[in-house]
């Protein structure tokens, strides 16, 4: 178990270092934060003073080494826009994002998995085709289009819900639904495929031939085996809880981590971008580790397989 965690922790650390390094290089080479934050019309002396005060006039490698040294001291830097610690800025936006992504995750699970199972159990029926048509639509329509359509209908035409902002729980309904529908569609498709594959396996036929009731075959044999690919997708969804609503937050003017990321990238506010990326990478890596553990719980073959035996 220690080796299991140790190996994955090392892999996670390398992943995070690579993410942060990549972000640092790309952001620093693709735009000058001083000119972006002070605006192109600011006096050249003001832009130069800004660069000096933030050390942006140092060689890139010096900035990189300084940044990494600070991280190891627990300092993730400060926002160049207002001087506040980047971590504080990010942490105070997390609740707003989770207020969208967690309910949306429940919609994805509550809608997507039953829909996928139902479609698989009624393969090639009208129900299956209807569910899959809706899933394809939900999967292919971009979230910003879906969001705007929902706003046009429920805010502009019917006047039932607000079109954006974060003033009450009613403001969260449309963004949560927008996020939830897209994810539910993805889950429905994956769940259906996984179920169909499992339902075609010999052990399902054997169980049926032995007279096991179909409901029990599905619950006891099909669902646990079909859960493995679905769990992978769910793990990815859990991993993107913190920054998985970038587009939706922009469309609905929701002040979460996603919007902060957009603003920070646009301004090349390096410390804030890197702080978000660190959190996202850490969340994603943690979610992957949990998924790895769940694989073992769901499939004894994976749990008991000797190391190096593949898989």
């Amino acid at each position: 178990m220690f080796r299991f965690f140790g190996f994955r922790a090392l892999r996670a650390a390398i992943t995070i270092v690579m993410v942060v390094t990549f972000a640092f290089v790309v952001l620093r080479l693709s735009g000058d934060p001083a000119l972006l934050i002070m605006s192109v019309d600011a006096p050249p002396e003001a832009v130069a003073a800004f660069r000096t005060s933030w050390g942006l006039d140092e060689p890139l490698w010096v900035q990189y080494v300084r940044y990494f040294a600070a991280i190891f001291e627990g300092d993730l830097g400060r926002s160049m826009r207002d001087g506040r610690p980047a971590l504080d800025l990010v942490v105070e936006r997390i609740p707003a994002t989770l207020a969208l992504t967690i309910p949306a995750l429940f919609i994805k699970l509550g809608l997507g998995i039953p829909a996928g199972i139902t479609a698989a159990l009624h393969r090639n029926s009208l129900l299956d085709r209807t569910v899959m048509a809706l899933a394809v639509a939900g999967f292919t329509v971009p979230s910003f289009v879906l969001g705007l359509l929902l706003v046009l209908l429920f805010a502009v035409q019917l006047g039932w819900l607000p079109s954006g902002g974060q003033e009450s729980w009613r403001h969260a309904i449309l963004p949560v639904v927008t996020l939830g529908i897209g994810g539910a569609a993805v889950l429905a498709r994956f769940t259906r495929s996984a179920m169909l594959e499992v339902l075609g396996q010999p052990y399902i036929r054997t169980a049926s031939a032995k007279g096991v009731p179909w409901r029990q075959v599905v619950r006891g044999h099909a669902l646990p085996n079909a859960a493995i690919p679905t769990v992978t997708i769910i793990g990815f969804m859990v991993g993107s809880l913190i920054a998985g609503a970038v587009v939706v937050e922009s469309v609905f003017s929701w002040p979460g981590v996603g919007r902060l990321l957009v603003v920070a990238v646009a301004n090349r506010d390096l410390a804030v971008v890197q702080c978000i990326l660190l959190l996202v990478a850490a969340t994603m890596v943690t979610a992957n580790m949990i998924v790895d553990l769940l694989y073992g719980l769901l499939d004894p073959r994976l749990r008991n397989a000797p190391r190096g035996a593949g898989g």
Partner: protein, 539 residues
Amino acid sequence: MIARRALLATAAAAGALPRFAIAQADQRPSVTIAVQKIANTNTLETLREQSNVGSRTWNSYAETLIDVDWLGDLGLLPSLAESWRRIDARSLELTLRDGVLFHDGRRMTAEDVAFSFGPERMGWEMSTEQARNLFGGVPGQGQGRAAPPEVLAIARRTYPGFEKIEIVDACTVRFVNRTPDATLEGRLTRNTGMILSQAAFGNAATWLDHARKPVGTGPYRVAEFRPDQSLTLEAFDDYWGGRPPLRRIRFIEVPEVASRINALLSGEVDFACDMPPDQVSTVERSARHQVVGGHIMNHRLTVFDKNHPQLANPLIRRAFTHAIDRQAIVDALWGGRTRVPKGLQFDFYGAMLQQDWEAPRFDLAEARRLLREAGYRGAPIPYRLLNNYYTNQTPTAQILVEGWRAAGLNVQIEMRENFPQVLSRDGQRGVRDWSNSAAYNDPVASLSAQHGPDGQQWQINEWRNEEFGSLSRLLESSVDLEERRRAFRRMLEIAEREDPAYTVLHQTVNLTAKRRDLRWAPGQSFSMDFRARNWGGAA
């Protein structure tokens, strides 16, 4: 005998009475305004926030000594100074308005004016070494009220000859320059010169606290500023200009145009700013809404880098200027809502305005002749372009490139993500887009400030011209009107015809969508005026 139920009802009504009375006391409306952005720098201190978006809000919470009549003829208006007079070419004496209160209840004094232009706020005494260790330089440590270094740079640029503010008496101050300056009055209209409470600044724990909630004299006080989200202003009923007409103004950030329009149409906001012209019909399909606005003191330009091998020849740059159908851009992309200006100058230049000056005429034959004379053989010239940083930027670029192609110029569009990439010296710069504002009523504010030796084009070594540089210095320091007019004329000849630094395209338009029933008019700038003079009048 009073029944128990009646007694309870009376008691309940009595409890509700004070609240009802308070609500009755203030019947003024509140408005919500959807904007793309509230502030670039996440601060409300104009010495740091120099963006167009920042200029939309500042005049509601603070004021300058002299104002500009943005709603009228663009002339100078008394504001916190009731009157002013020239002492000499270097000094301006201002009589302060009596009875002006700050939002903290303190009376505005001459000391507050001196403070607002003094070293504490503007950082005049800051050294370069200090600058490196301020604000963000030492993570985790409080920085006190020391201003970030860009504040000093902006102050130096706005008041380059500033020497001191002399307090003559309790209601008179003198703005004294080291050098003669014909533009002192205009410079005092700049938002950097807003007058703030010295005591409130002293009470702020950090510079950031001050910059997030500046205490000024405007009709509305800053109630809450949530960076990247909202700015709430509340009526300041002791405002010297009378009770403000609105109880509360709330600016909310809605980055997407479609979302701003939806918020307006659904009734959640009363104003939606930064409307592109192609959305006017969408808004005006609703009978309850309209789009207002027009040209403001800003011109869109095409700018040249004369270090490019082809553009080094002024004949080729001149060919560019003649191969632009400016009126087609105005008509096709702006529905005729703007106009082609008389070069880089603005109506409010008054005596300095060169009435007979025109932008280069659209003349493809002349452009082709110039290219032949220059021996141009179709070598590619890069055009670094941003995707609609300016409204209609991309379609404007497409019209420009087609016109240039018709003249025989081979202009290659290179899309860029942001301005640093456009200005980068990596690779070869060619032509690019820009806009120039005039912050006050003199060509020093635009032609000299943007293209002279201290301007961006000169500083990034995109365009320099020694004669233009000398004339720019003369324009800044001379107080002889005729001499200044001659210098300005010659500068226009150099920068727009002989050795083009840029060419004007059209005046910028600022469109705001709003509820049709609200009696409010846009000014000729980005700023929004919600004083009584601009609310509730005739439609």
